[in-house]
């Protein structure tokens, strides 16, 4: 029983400590900051490029921008656009009609938080169990003279 409690404590400790660094590592290694767009058809891109004036947002040439720039994991390279009109911007085409659903780092952080919370709770319970079992084994041991 004590061994099980110790094992649970170790696992809980890992669950408490590892998720955030893992999420940070995944984000750093495989994440990319992008502006999501629902893409325009080629004819629309052609027209928007013809009518675009310097100073206007570049995103409108390529599609309908969604939300604020965000970090996504494993964006498909073929869905990325670096506009020649403004190479400082990175756009990610998201075609919902085709089932595109890029993994957002925001989702990773959310689950990391809850894993940490769950890990903390089970860690406390495991350590409490270890303490109780240790005391029981001491009390049931041979009395001191």
């Amino acid at each position: 029983m004590r061994r099980a409690a110790v094992a649970a404590a170790i696992l809980s400790g890992a669950l408490t400590v590892l998720p955030y660094p893992a999420a940070a590592g995944a984000s750093a290694l495989w994440g990319r900051d992008v502006t999501l767009i629902t893409p325009n058809a080629d004819e629309i891109v052609e027209l928007e490029r013809m009518t675009w004036e310097k100073g206007e947002p570049v995103t409108k040439i390529y599609g309908n921008p969604i939300g604020s720039p965000m970090r996504v994991l494993f964006p498909k390279p073929e869905r990325i656009i670096i506009p020649r009109e403004d190479p400082s911007v990175t756009l990610l085409k998201v075609d919902k009609q085709a089932g595109d659903n890029p993994l957002q780092v925001q989702t990773l952080w959310y689950f990391a938080k809850w894993m940490m919370i769950a890990g903390s709770i089970t860690l406390v319970l495991s350590v409490a169990a270890m303490f109780i079992l240790h005391r029981r084994s001491n009390l049931s041991g041979t009395p001191r003279n």
């Binding site: 629902t38 009518t51 309908n64 939300g67 919902k96 659903n101």
Partner: protein, 201 residues
């Protein structure tokens, strides 16, 4: 003869001068996105289907009537789309369309390429008056011909606004609150033409 001429003259005097633009030629001319920002995920959905008419007279006398089919809305996950259409959410079977019908429009001060449109937005069988600011841009015939747009004179209309699902009788269940927000942003970009869309066979 004289009566016909008089009627024609009266028509010229009393017409509001607006030109009717039609929406629904092809999916590529409609780009509507809807966003929900919740704790777990920033959900984005799109539809490229809309039909209707926009009577456009620049700063006054504008009117809009648009219909979007609920089952054309996709969020990238089939199961989520099924939920979206289900009776607990948009109930597409009972309320198959989302509509907007304008009641009045006013120019926006110091912004000649924008109008403020007041109208009834209907979703899930509930109609509420909303006010949206619409940007417009007349597209040159040269540009639209080169880009292969098709017949007619084209105008681009764009707007974004926010709605709350709860205002339309759609309650986000507590267990879904982290996944779906009550407030949704809608962003529309529509290209409309004076040529009528071809009737679908």
């Amino acid at each position: 003869m004289k009566t016909a001429a008089l009627i024609a003259l009266l028509g010229v005097i009393f017409q509001d001068g607006g030109t009717t633009y039609y929406v629904g030629h092809h999916e590529k001319f409609v780009n509507i996105a809807f966003e929900s920002d919740a704790a777990i995920e920033f959900i984005v959905g799109t539809t490229h289907k809309a039909a209707g008419e926009i009577k456009f007279n620049k700063d006054k006398g504008n009117s809009v009537s648009l219909t979007v089919p609920v089952d054309s809305m996709k969020t990238g996950i089939d199961m989520r789309d099924e939920h979206l259409r289900s009776a607990n959410w948009m109930d597409a079977a009972m309320f198959p369309s989302i509509t907007f019908v304008s009641k009045k429009s006013e120019p926006v001060k110091d912004k000649p390429d924008q109008v403020q449109v007041t109208g009834d937005f209907s979703l899930h069988g509930v109609s509420k008056e909303i006010v949206v600011t619409v940007s417009w841009k007349e597209l040159s015939e040269d540009a639209t011909k080169k880009a292969g747009f098709g017949d007619g004179k084209w105008v681009k209309f764009a707007t974004d606004f926010e709605i709350k699902l709860s205002d339309y009788g759609i309650k986000v269940p507590e267990q879904s609150a982290a996944k779906v927000s009550d407030a949704w942003k809608v962003k529309m970009v529509i290209y409309a033409s004076t040529a009528k869309p071809e009737a679908k066979k």
